[in-house]
Subunit: 155 residues, 2 copies
């Protein structure tokens, strides 16, 4: 099994466990959305609208509300992250591993997103929180700017 397929199976198990625990139901729609999301959007940041339009191509009967609710469900059970990059639309990305954690650098010109992780920043953050006696549940860090190719295009 490829690492990608294994990763997908692990998320699937988390999802199934969550469904069982919360006494929800397995449905064809949830299967379809799960598969499309984890097959096509690994490492990407997709809006509800985008995923809906994509899925409609092969499954025209699936409704927008179902895609919307299913992505929220993915987030709820910890297999997807919700991101907000300041354009007013929520974006979702598949979580790649239980432990992964990263932030984003967004080109305000072309929309390109570069992911990064930095241990030093993370430990500084925890230190700041500790100093102020905050119990951190999550944090977000985004860098906005112009990427090199957009900068070249301008000259």
């Amino acid at each position: 099994m490829t690492p990608v397929a294994k990763r997908k199976m692990e998320r699937r198990k988390t999802f199934n466990d969550y469904i069982a625990k919360k006494q929800l139901k397995s449905t064809k729609q949830r299967d379809i959305i799960f598969n499309e999301f984890f097959n096509s959007y690994m490492g990407r940041h997709v809006t509800v609208e985008e995923l809906y339009e994509d899925i409609k191509k092969n499954n025209p009967s699936i409704g927008f509300a179902t895609v919307y609710r299913t992505l929220k469900l993915f987030k709820e059970c910890g297999i997807a992250s919700e991101r907000n990059f300041g354009d007013g639309k929520a974006r979702y990305e598949p979580i790649r591993s239980e432990t992964e954690h990263h932030h984003h650098m967004i080109c305000t010109e072309c929309g390109q997103i570069v992911e990064f992780a930095n241990m030093q920043i993370e430990s500084c953050l925890l230190q700041v929180a500790k100093l102020n006696e905050f119990n951190v549940s999550n944090h977000k860090l985004e860098i906005y700017g112009i990427c090199s190719s957009c900068r070249e295009a301008q000259r």
Copy 2:
């Protein structure tokens, strides 16, 4: 003159200069909004609605749209920052000096906001950006968690 008064005067000059440069007009409404914002909301993070309700008390004829537009104007000319803490409402805070820069820690229980600045984080950020050849225009960092008093209240 107190340091607070001096600070306010400096922002006023920036605002006046901006109005002159862009050929805008000085109005009673802008004066009122400027004064309330810089008198009552230094170090705070106010929504348009909140500031509007506040101003209405003494100036019932001022419209919501004017408050909304004036805060955007403050932001535009660099005397206010717009913040988004994930509740779907934009917040504005007066800028205290040309050079100040800080981030926020938000209690998800009581809404308390603690500001912090950390040079180490800032330089890490720039390093990450440099590595990826991004020209940084701005960045945001927020820590969400539970403050100590809310933690105590829970026990």
